[in-house]
Structure formats: C-alpha cells, structure tokens
Symmetry: C2
Subunit: 188 residues, 2 copies
C-alpha cells in the first residue's frame, strides 16, 4: 500500500521548484466517462505569472484526445517510492485498462478541473489548456497551472528523471549556492 502524503496549497508561481529540475511526471485526465494516466518527460516551465508549462503529448497516447477535448489535466509529481508504478503506467495504455485501478492509485477530486489528482504523488498541479497553437504541428500543449497542492516535506523529494532506454537517474540531494546569487534572482 503506497503512502498518501498530506498536501497544502502552494503558490502557482513557485511550481518551478518541482518542475524545472525535469522529473518524470504522471499526467491525469478525464473526459466524459473516461479517465487516464500517462507518463511525461518532455515538459518545461515557460512563465512564472501566469504559471505556464509547455509539454509534448504525442497523438499516439490514449490521453491525447481526453486532454485535447477536455482542455484540462493534472500534472502529478511521483517520487522514487513510486518507481515501479511509473514504469507500469508508461508501459500500458488506457485503451486497455483503467490505470487507477490497475496500479492502485487513488483519484481525488481537483479544485479547479475535472481531471482527478493522484493522491499518492508528492505534488499535484491542476492545469487548463492556455494555448494550442503548436498542438497540430508538434503535439506541444501550453498549460496554465491554476492550482497547486504540495506535500510540505521533504522540500526536495527524491524524484525520477528519465534518460530513455528504461533507465532513470535519481535526484534529491540539494546543494545551495544562495550566497553567490544576486538578490533579485532569489525568491522574494
């Protein structure tokens, strides 16, 4: 049974703390009576305010149409204790199975979107599609994060970063160089 961390509201303009390091994430979505989860490694923060995240969702994913039609999703941050579930989610398709049931993940109602949060993840970022200008050409979606839920501790959880070929690198050890930074580049 996987642990379910307690989470608190988190300022959406600070989500770069979790996404800029480039972790593999789980994207949950729903449309009509269908729901799904996919893994995603191709994403980037694009702006602080509005809080924008750009990402590639290939048309071959079962989630593609759910997200394009609902114009919503949740970006969920798994930690290393979910490694085998992340791999399972990435190697199955929602066309065949309900991934929440198969991987014993708990869907939780979101505040601002209909897509469910994944309770077992360290953080959940509720997203609305902000710009689909590059979807047809590149499968590139630009989302606005409209609500963020984060487990307050640990501040820098151990996350998975995909390299391809079935191999992840793990990050988590934090090193600070705050004293070397210009003040205007640090958090207010």
């Amino acid at each position: 049974m996987t642990k379910v961390p307690r989470k608190a509201d988190f300022p959406v303009f600070r989500i770069r703390r979790y996404l800029e390091p480039g972790p593999i994430v789980l994207v949950s979505s729903a449309h009509g009576d269908k729901r799904n989860i996919m893994t995603m490694g191709w994403h980037t923060v694009m702006e602080f305010t509005p809080s924008l995240v750009g990402c590639i969702i290939a048309g071959s994913n079962y989630s593609f149409e759910l997200i394009r039609k609902s114009r919503e999703c949740v970006i969920n941050l798994p930690t290393t204790d979910l490694t085998d579930i992340v791999v399972g989610v990435g190697n199955t398709t929602g066309a065949d199975i309900d991934k929440f049931a198969r991987f014993a993940l708990t869907p939780q109602p979101a505040a601002r979107v209909k897509a469910p949060l994944i309770a077992e993840c360290h953080a959940n970022f509720e997203c609305c599609l902000a710009d689909d200008a590059l979807v047809d050409k590149y499968n590139f979606f630009i989302f606005e994060v409209v609500k963020a839920h984060v487990a307050p501790s640990p501040k820098h959880p151990e996350t998975l970063h995909y390299t391809g070929d079935g191999v992840f690198v793990v990050s988590g050890k934090a090193i600070s160089r705050r004293r070397m930074f210009r003040p205007e580049l640090l958090d207010p």
Copy 2:
C-alpha cells in the same frame, strides 16, 4: 584548472539521454564580434527526428539578440564539478564581461554553427533555430540539434537541476527498469 573531457560524435536522435532529465545547461552563442554564455533551465526535448529542443530565452538576456540574429547556439551540459562556474555565469551579464575569459572556459570551434562549444562541458549540442513562431509571444525558441559531441564516460554524469532560490538538486545515480519495458520503448 577545470578538466576538459574528450568527446565523440553522438547520434542527435539520442540526445534525450542528456536533456530529458532536465539539467541546467549553458547556452553559448555568437554574432558578429560578440559572444556569450547563459544558463538555461527551461527547456524540453520535442522530437527525436528531426532532433528538436524547445526552450525559453528571456528577452532580458544579453544572449537573446545574439541567438535571434545568428539563429544558432550551442547547448552545453555542465556537470557538478562546474557548479560554481554555472552559478557565476547565471549571475553575470555578457553586457559587462566576456564570460569565457572571466570563468576560464575554453571556446572550441563547432562543426555546423559559428557559436563556440564550451570545451569543459560533458556534452555539446550544436543547434540551429528551427521555428521562431512563439518567440515574440513567449520567448520560446525551437532548435534543431544538428550535431552532438558527448564524452563517452560516464554514461550518466552527475548533473545540476535548478529549483530556483539558489538551490540545485543533483542527479546521477542511475536505476534501470529495462526488464519492465515494452521492447518498442527501448533503444534499437
């Protein structure tokens, strides 16, 4: 004196191994008699072939005009032994100093672009601007990696991943789940 790793040609469709984990990178550029280096944490792989990388380069960066006008850059991958140099590059501006000189970094001629490689980095990805459709609206550049140089060892170098507020997390420890992957998702 920082070590200069020996590098070999690397297939451009495999650069996700180094960029998908989301490391902070150093972007070198040149235009006319000017050159510069900037740090970049907001980037994502977008396609295998052509090998596309999307990234945010804010207009406030001295590099912005060099890259927009030359339509080229090099994405260089620093490892943790370059941490203080990465912080130095990110906290200074090319309007005031030549960063190669200031940080004792070695510019090397690239094969396909005029922007210089940074010899001390683990990998160098030569890039040509492929699509500027979202530059005016989001400062989002889509580059094609046209040539890649990578130090063959270690296969998973220790890299820096920026979280904001002067703090990096470090990745490098690799964990394989190849046995759990569908064969078509592994490298051919």
